[in-house]
Symmetry: C2
Subunit: 210 residues, 2 copies
C-alpha cells in the first residue's frame, strides 16, 4: 500500500476537503468520516447545497453583493439612504457592518482588493462600476471601508484618484484604538492615527449611544 | 432582512458546513466563499467526491475496514501474518498503526466503541464477526488497540469476555509514558500503569530500534 488511505474514494474526498483553506489532512479525514456516517440523504443535501450555491448564485446588479434576486434586498429597501455608498471588499464585510446596525446607506462590493502578489488588479474588481455609480448623480458620499492593510490602502488610494474628479465626498472609516482595548497595549501606528484623527468629545459619545 | 445572510443559497451552504464537527459559522462562511470563488468544474469535483464516497464505498468483508474492493489490500496481502488480529475502532486507527510500520498482522475494525451515552451497544459494532473470526481457527493472538478511555476499557472487557472461551491469546497495547514525555509531567494513572507494566530493559530497546 503506497497511499496511507485504504480506499481511493476516501482519499479523493479527503483531498477535496484538505484543499479548502485552513483544513489540514487530519481534519479533512475527520470531516469525511463524519459525512460517511450520515445517511445518503443528508450527504446529498450537503453536496447539493454546495452545487446549488455555485450554479444558481446571483450578484446584485447594483452593489454586486451575493443575492438571490437581480437586485439585492438591501438595494431594494426603500427605507435606506441611496445617496450614501459604503465600499467593501466582500459579502463578509457587508454582513459585519449590517450587524452593527449603524449604517443605513447602500453598499458597493468590490469582490476583493488590489493585490499584485495574488495577481488581482483594478480591472478584476468592481471599480469601474463604482465610478459609474458615483458619477450618475444623486450620490452624496462614498465611504471606504476596506481592511487597514497595505492592500487596503493601495485600493483606497486608487479609488480616491478615480472618484475625486467626480466631485463626490469621499471618506474613510475611522482607524483607532478598538473599544475595550487598553491604551498601553495599542500598537503605536494605530495609537498615533487615533490621536491625529481625534473626535470632538460630544460627537464621539453621541455616536456610541446612538 | 431577518437573516444575516444576503442569500438563502449562501445560508444553506453555510448551514451544511457548520453542521460538520469542529466547524463554526464563521469558518463555514469562509469555506463556502472559497468554494464560490473556484470554477464550477472544481466545485463539482468537490461535491462529486463526497457523493461518490458515500454511494460507492465498500467495507472489507474480512476486517470491515473501508476498502475499494471486496477484500481490502491489507487482508489480501499474502505477506502479512494472518494469525495475528489487531482490533481497532476505526479506519483512522488502522492508518495510524500502519504508519508505525511495527505491525505485520491483520486488523479487525469495530466501527466504533461501546458508548451507552451515544446509544452504541455491542450489537452496533463488528464484535460478533470478530468472535466468528477468532473462533474459526488459525488465530494465534488478538491484540486490543482501543482508546485508553472509559468507553475503550468497557469495550476491551466486553470483547475479552466473549473471546476468552475460544482459547485464543488476548493482549492489549501497552499504556505508559509517551516517548518524548518528561516523567514530571506524566499523569499519575499513566505513570502508575507504566511502572506496573514495566518491560525488561533489553526488550524495550530492541523494540524501539527495530
Amino acid at each position: 500500500m503506497n497511499s496511507p488511505y485504504p480506499s481511493s474514494l476516501l482519499e479523493n474526498a479527503v483531498n477535496e476537503f484538505a484543499g479548502l483553506p485552513g483544513i489540514g489532512r487530519k481534519s479533512a479525514l475527520r470531516l469525511v468520516l463524519h459525512l460517511l456516517r450520515l445517511d445518503e440523504e443528508r450527504v446529498a443535501g450537503f453536496a447539493g447545497a454546495v452545487m446549488k450555491l455555485k450554479r444558481e448564485i446571483k450578484y446584485c446588479s447594483l452593489c454586486h453583493n451575493i443575492s438571490d434576486t437581480e437586485v439585492c434586498s438591501i438595494c431594494a429597501d426603500g427605507g435606506r439612504d441611496g445617496s450614501l455608498i459604503c465600499v467593501v471588499e466582500n459579502v463578509k464585510e457587508v454582513m459585519a457592518i449590517e450587524k452593527t446596525a449603524q449604517f443605513g446607506g447602500l453598499y458597493h462590493v468590490l469582490g476583493g482588493i488590489i493585490s499584485p502578489i495574488d495577481g488581482i488588479g483594478p480591472a478584476d474588481l468592481e471599480i469601474a462600476s463604482l465610478e459609474k455609480r458615483a458619477g450618475a448623480g444623486g450620490i452624496r458620499e462614498v465611504i471606504l471601508a476596506l481592511s487597514a492593510t497595505m492592500e487596503g490602502d493601495t485600493t483606497n488610494f486608487y479609488i480616491y484618484r478615480k472618484l475625486q474628479p467626480l466631485g463626490v465626498k469621499i471618506s474613510i472609516i475611522a482607524r483607532g484604538v478598538s473599544i475595550g482595548d487598553e491604551i498601553e497595549y495599542a500598537d503605536e501606528v494605530t495609537l498615533g492615527r487615533s490621536i491625529l484623527n481625534r473626535t470632538p468629545f460630544n460627537e464621539s459619545y453621541k455616536l456610541l449611544s446612538k
